[in-house]
Protein backbone atom coordinates (compact mmCIF):
# COMPACT_ATOMS: atom_id res chain seq x y z
CA UNK A 1 0.00 0.00 0.00
CA UNK A 2 1.27 3.45 -0.79
CA UNK A 3 0.40 6.40 1.39
CA UNK A 4 -2.33 8.68 0.13
CA UNK A 5 -2.31 12.05 1.79
CA UNK A 6 -2.03 15.78 1.15
CA UNK A 7 1.72 15.74 0.54
CA UNK A 8 1.13 13.54 -2.46
CA UNK A 9 -0.94 16.30 -4.06
CA UNK A 10 2.25 18.39 -3.99
CA UNK A 11 4.39 15.47 -5.15
CA UNK A 12 2.00 14.90 -8.02
CA UNK A 13 1.92 18.54 -9.09
CA UNK A 14 5.71 18.86 -8.81
CA UNK A 15 6.29 15.66 -10.75
CA UNK A 16 3.80 16.76 -13.37
CA UNK A 17 5.41 20.18 -13.79
CA UNK A 18 8.80 18.51 -14.26
CA UNK A 19 7.32 16.18 -16.88
CA UNK A 20 5.73 19.18 -18.60
CA UNK A 21 9.07 21.01 -18.57
CA UNK A 22 10.87 18.00 -20.03
CA UNK A 23 8.28 17.60 -22.77
CA UNK A 24 8.30 21.34 -23.43
CA UNK A 25 12.07 21.27 -23.71
CA UNK A 26 11.92 18.55 -26.33
CA UNK A 27 9.37 20.57 -28.29
CA UNK A 28 11.10 23.94 -28.14
CA UNK A 29 14.61 22.64 -28.81
CA UNK A 30 14.02 19.69 -31.16
CA UNK A 31 10.49 20.31 -32.36
CA UNK A 32 9.34 16.84 -31.29
CA UNK A 33 6.44 15.41 -29.33
CA UNK A 34 7.50 13.63 -26.13
CA UNK A 35 5.48 10.52 -26.80
CA UNK A 36 7.33 7.63 -25.23
CA UNK A 37 5.95 4.86 -27.43
CA UNK A 38 6.77 6.82 -30.58
CA UNK A 39 10.26 7.36 -29.27
CA UNK A 40 10.69 3.67 -28.43
CA UNK A 41 9.15 2.60 -31.75
CA UNK A 42 11.61 4.74 -33.68
CA UNK A 43 14.52 3.05 -31.91
CA UNK A 44 13.26 -0.53 -32.30
CA UNK A 45 12.35 -0.03 -35.97
CA UNK A 46 14.77 2.70 -36.94
CA UNK A 47 14.76 4.94 -40.00
CA UNK A 48 17.79 7.08 -40.89
CA UNK A 49 18.01 10.35 -39.03
CA UNK A 50 15.17 9.41 -36.72
CA UNK A 51 16.77 7.16 -34.17
CA UNK A 52 19.77 8.90 -32.66
CA UNK A 53 17.85 11.64 -30.89
CA UNK A 54 15.37 9.02 -29.68
CA UNK A 55 18.21 6.94 -28.28
CA UNK A 56 19.52 10.05 -26.51
CA UNK A 57 16.11 10.66 -24.92
CA UNK A 58 15.82 7.06 -23.73
CA UNK A 59 19.41 7.19 -22.47
CA UNK A 60 18.42 10.24 -20.45
CA UNK A 61 15.37 8.44 -19.11
CA UNK A 62 17.50 5.51 -17.97
CA UNK A 63 20.00 7.88 -16.32
CA UNK A 64 17.12 9.62 -14.56
CA UNK A 65 15.81 6.26 -13.44
CA UNK A 66 19.20 5.44 -11.97
CA UNK A 67 19.19 8.70 -9.99
CA UNK A 68 15.69 7.98 -8.68
CA UNK A 69 16.80 4.47 -7.73
CA UNK A 70 19.79 5.90 -5.84
CA UNK A 71 17.95 8.59 -3.89
CA UNK A 72 14.47 7.14 -3.51
CA UNK A 73 14.22 3.44 -4.30
CA UNK A 74 10.75 3.40 -2.74
CA UNK A 75 9.64 5.06 -5.99
CA UNK A 76 9.93 1.64 -7.62
CA UNK A 77 7.99 -0.29 -5.01
CA UNK A 78 5.63 -2.82 -6.56
CA UNK A 79 2.93 -3.67 -4.04
CA UNK A 80 -0.02 -4.63 -6.19
CA UNK A 81 -1.65 -8.08 -6.21
CA UNK A 82 -0.62 -9.02 -9.73
CA UNK A 83 1.21 -12.11 -10.99
CA UNK A 84 4.15 -11.87 -13.39
CA UNK A 85 1.84 -13.32 -16.03
CA UNK A 86 -0.52 -10.38 -15.61
CA UNK A 87 2.37 -7.92 -15.95
CA UNK A 88 3.32 -9.68 -19.17
CA UNK A 89 -0.23 -9.61 -20.50
CA UNK A 90 -0.51 -5.94 -19.58
CA UNK A 91 2.77 -5.23 -21.33
CA UNK A 92 1.68 -6.91 -24.55
CA UNK A 93 -1.61 -4.98 -24.61
CA UNK A 94 0.20 -1.73 -23.87
CA UNK A 95 2.78 -2.32 -26.59
CA UNK A 96 0.31 -3.13 -29.35
CA UNK A 97 -2.40 -0.72 -28.21
CA UNK A 98 -0.20 2.36 -27.88
CA UNK A 99 1.25 1.94 -31.38
CA UNK A 100 -2.17 1.31 -32.85
CA UNK A 101 -3.40 4.50 -31.16
CA UNK A 102 -0.17 6.29 -32.04
CA UNK A 103 0.33 7.44 -28.46
CA UNK A 104 0.07 6.77 -24.73
CA UNK A 105 -0.26 8.79 -21.53
CA UNK A 106 2.67 11.03 -22.50
CA UNK A 107 1.96 11.52 -26.19
CA UNK A 108 -1.81 11.77 -25.98
CA UNK A 109 -2.41 12.37 -22.29
CA UNK A 110 0.08 15.21 -21.79
CA UNK A 111 1.17 16.59 -25.17
CA UNK A 112 -2.06 15.99 -27.04
CA UNK A 113 -4.36 17.15 -24.27
CA UNK A 114 -1.99 20.07 -23.66
CA UNK A 115 -2.67 21.34 -27.16
CA UNK A 116 -6.37 20.32 -27.08
CA UNK A 117 -6.05 17.79 -29.88
CA UNK A 118 -9.46 16.11 -30.40
CA UNK A 119 -7.78 12.77 -31.15
CA UNK A 120 -5.83 12.91 -27.92
CA UNK A 121 -8.84 13.93 -25.84
CA UNK A 122 -10.72 10.92 -27.20
CA UNK A 123 -7.71 8.63 -26.69
CA UNK A 124 -7.28 9.77 -23.09
CA UNK A 125 -10.98 9.28 -22.32
CA UNK A 126 -10.93 5.79 -23.84
CA UNK A 127 -7.76 4.53 -22.20
CA UNK A 128 -8.68 5.92 -18.81
CA UNK A 129 -12.14 4.33 -18.95
CA UNK A 130 -10.74 0.97 -20.06
CA UNK A 131 -8.11 1.17 -17.34
CA UNK A 132 -10.78 1.69 -14.73
CA UNK A 133 -12.82 -1.19 -16.14
CA UNK A 134 -9.79 -3.49 -16.07
CA UNK A 135 -9.01 -2.62 -12.46
CA UNK A 136 -12.63 -3.14 -11.44
CA UNK A 137 -12.76 -6.48 -13.24
CA UNK A 138 -9.57 -7.73 -11.59
CA UNK A 139 -10.89 -6.71 -8.19
CA UNK A 140 -13.79 -9.03 -8.64
CA UNK A 141 -11.69 -12.03 -9.60
Amino acid sequence: MVTVDATWVLHGLAGGVIIGLASGMLLLVSGRIAGITGIIGGVLVPTPGEWSWRLAFIGGMLAGGAVVLWFAPVAFAVTVPRSLGLFALGGALVGVGTRMANGCTSGHGVCGVGRLSPRSLVAAAVFTTCGALAVAALRML
Partner: protein, 159 residues
Protein backbone atom coordinates in the same frame (compact mmCIF):
# COMPACT_ATOMS: atom_id res chain seq x y z
CA UNK B 1 24.86 19.52 -28.67
CA UNK B 2 21.28 18.91 -29.63
CA UNK B 3 21.46 15.32 -28.40
CA UNK B 4 22.80 16.58 -25.08
CA UNK B 5 19.67 18.67 -24.58
CA UNK B 6 17.47 15.75 -25.62
CA UNK B 7 19.29 13.56 -23.08
CA UNK B 8 18.56 16.14 -20.38
CA UNK B 9 14.90 16.22 -21.40
CA UNK B 10 14.71 12.44 -21.03
CA UNK B 11 16.50 12.66 -17.69
CA UNK B 12 14.04 15.23 -16.36
CA UNK B 13 11.13 13.19 -17.67
CA UNK B 14 12.19 10.23 -15.50
CA UNK B 15 12.76 12.48 -12.50
CA UNK B 16 9.26 13.86 -12.94
CA UNK B 17 7.77 10.38 -13.09
CA UNK B 18 9.66 9.36 -9.96
CA UNK B 19 8.79 12.50 -7.98
CA UNK B 20 5.16 12.15 -8.99
CA UNK B 21 4.95 8.54 -7.86
CA UNK B 22 4.05 7.33 -11.32
CA UNK B 23 6.55 4.52 -11.16
CA UNK B 24 4.53 2.85 -8.38
CA UNK B 25 1.84 0.63 -9.94
CA UNK B 26 -0.17 0.93 -6.73
CA UNK B 27 -0.69 4.65 -7.42
CA UNK B 28 -1.79 4.05 -11.01
CA UNK B 29 -4.15 1.25 -10.08
CA UNK B 30 -5.29 3.33 -7.10
CA UNK B 31 -6.21 6.15 -9.49
CA UNK B 32 -8.07 3.78 -11.81
CA UNK B 33 -9.76 2.08 -8.85
CA UNK B 34 -12.91 4.16 -8.95
CA UNK B 35 -14.89 1.63 -6.93
CA UNK B 36 -12.35 1.38 -4.14
CA UNK B 37 -10.09 3.69 -2.19
CA UNK B 38 -9.22 6.32 -4.79
CA UNK B 39 -5.66 7.66 -5.17
CA UNK B 40 -5.78 11.10 -6.87
CA UNK B 41 -2.02 11.48 -7.36
CA UNK B 42 -2.07 10.80 -11.11
CA UNK B 43 -4.72 13.47 -11.58
CA UNK B 44 -2.39 16.07 -10.09
CA UNK B 45 0.53 14.82 -12.16
CA UNK B 46 -1.56 15.26 -15.31
CA UNK B 47 -2.76 18.70 -14.20
CA UNK B 48 0.81 19.85 -13.53
CA UNK B 49 2.10 18.36 -16.76
CA UNK B 50 -0.68 19.59 -19.05
CA UNK B 51 -0.63 23.11 -17.63
CA UNK B 52 3.14 23.36 -18.03
CA UNK B 53 3.15 21.81 -21.50
CA UNK B 54 0.33 24.07 -22.65
CA UNK B 55 2.53 27.07 -21.86
CA UNK B 56 5.46 25.53 -23.74
CA UNK B 57 3.22 24.77 -26.71
CA UNK B 58 1.86 28.32 -26.77
CA UNK B 59 5.44 29.62 -26.85
CA UNK B 60 6.43 27.14 -29.56
CA UNK B 61 3.52 28.12 -31.80
CA UNK B 62 4.85 31.65 -32.03
CA UNK B 63 8.23 30.50 -33.29
CA UNK B 64 8.95 29.74 -36.93
CA UNK B 65 11.25 26.88 -35.96
CA UNK B 66 12.65 25.11 -32.87
CA UNK B 67 15.87 26.29 -31.26
CA UNK B 68 18.11 23.65 -32.78
CA UNK B 69 16.20 21.40 -35.19
CA UNK B 70 15.28 22.73 -38.66
CA UNK B 71 11.53 22.40 -38.10
CA UNK B 72 8.73 21.16 -35.89
CA UNK B 73 7.69 17.55 -36.42
CA UNK B 74 4.12 17.39 -35.19
CA UNK B 75 1.57 14.68 -35.96
CA UNK B 76 -0.43 15.42 -39.09
CA UNK B 77 -4.02 16.36 -38.24
CA UNK B 78 -6.17 13.25 -38.48
CA UNK B 79 -9.74 12.41 -37.65
CA UNK B 80 -10.66 10.20 -34.74
CA UNK B 81 -10.57 6.72 -36.28
CA UNK B 82 -10.92 3.05 -35.35
CA UNK B 83 -7.21 2.36 -34.69
CA UNK B 84 -7.14 5.29 -32.26
CA UNK B 85 -10.14 4.04 -30.31
CA UNK B 86 -9.35 0.32 -30.46
CA UNK B 87 -5.68 0.94 -29.71
CA UNK B 88 -6.52 3.16 -26.75
CA UNK B 89 -8.91 0.52 -25.43
CA UNK B 90 -6.19 -2.14 -25.63
CA UNK B 91 -3.65 0.18 -24.07
CA UNK B 92 -5.99 1.22 -21.27
CA UNK B 93 -6.83 -2.38 -20.48
CA UNK B 94 -3.16 -3.32 -20.29
CA UNK B 95 -2.50 -0.24 -18.18
CA UNK B 96 -5.17 -1.23 -15.66
CA UNK B 97 -3.87 -4.80 -15.57
CA UNK B 98 -0.21 -3.93 -15.04
CA UNK B 99 -0.30 -0.50 -13.44
CA UNK B 100 2.55 0.51 -15.74
CA UNK B 101 2.59 2.47 -18.94
CA UNK B 102 5.56 2.88 -21.28
CA UNK B 103 7.27 5.86 -19.63
CA UNK B 104 7.36 4.55 -16.06
CA UNK B 105 8.29 1.14 -17.43
CA UNK B 106 11.45 2.53 -19.03
CA UNK B 107 12.29 4.63 -15.96
CA UNK B 108 11.87 1.57 -13.73
CA UNK B 109 14.00 -0.68 -15.95
CA UNK B 110 17.13 0.20 -13.95
CA UNK B 111 15.56 -1.34 -10.85
CA UNK B 112 15.63 -4.71 -12.65
CA UNK B 113 12.52 -5.78 -10.75
CA UNK B 114 10.95 -8.94 -12.18
CA UNK B 115 7.55 -7.28 -12.51
CA UNK B 116 9.07 -4.43 -14.55
CA UNK B 117 10.96 -6.84 -16.80
CA UNK B 118 7.87 -9.03 -17.19
CA UNK B 119 5.98 -5.93 -18.33
CA UNK B 120 8.67 -4.41 -20.56
CA UNK B 121 9.62 -7.49 -22.55
CA UNK B 122 6.18 -8.11 -24.06
CA UNK B 123 5.65 -4.37 -24.39
CA UNK B 124 8.80 -3.90 -26.50
CA UNK B 125 7.94 -7.00 -28.50
CA UNK B 126 4.44 -5.65 -29.11
CA UNK B 127 5.78 -2.30 -30.28
CA UNK B 128 8.43 -3.89 -32.51
CA UNK B 129 5.96 -6.31 -34.08
CA UNK B 130 3.32 -3.65 -34.68
CA UNK B 131 5.85 -1.28 -36.22
CA UNK B 132 8.10 -3.76 -37.94
CA UNK B 133 5.87 -6.56 -39.18
CA UNK B 134 4.06 -4.54 -41.87
CA UNK B 135 7.41 -3.20 -43.11
CA UNK B 136 8.95 -6.67 -43.23
CA UNK B 137 5.94 -8.17 -45.00
CA UNK B 138 6.00 -5.37 -47.60
CA UNK B 139 9.74 -5.86 -48.10
CA UNK B 140 9.23 -9.59 -48.65
CA UNK B 141 6.37 -8.99 -51.07
CA UNK B 142 8.42 -6.51 -53.10
CA UNK B 143 11.33 -8.92 -53.31
CA UNK B 144 9.02 -11.74 -54.38
CA UNK B 145 7.48 -9.56 -57.09
CA UNK B 146 10.92 -8.55 -58.32
CA UNK B 147 11.95 -12.23 -58.52
CA UNK B 148 8.75 -13.14 -60.39
CA UNK B 149 9.21 -10.26 -62.83
CA UNK B 150 12.77 -11.36 -63.61
CA UNK B 151 11.83 -15.04 -64.08
CA UNK B 152 9.02 -14.05 -66.46
CA UNK B 153 11.34 -11.84 -68.47
CA UNK B 154 15.02 -12.57 -67.84
CA UNK B 155 15.92 -9.61 -70.02
CA UNK B 156 14.87 -7.39 -67.14
CA UNK B 157 18.05 -8.19 -65.26
CA UNK B 158 20.18 -6.50 -67.90
CA UNK B 159 17.77 -3.52 -68.08
Amino acid sequence: MKHGVVFVAGFLFSIGLGVGGMTQPARIIGFLDVTGRWDPTLLFVILGAVATYAVAYAVARRRPRPLVAPGFVLPAPRRVDAPLVVGSALFGTGWGIAGFCPGPGVTALVSLKPQVLAFLGPMLLGIALYEGLPLWLTHRRNRRRAREAVSADPGLVDG
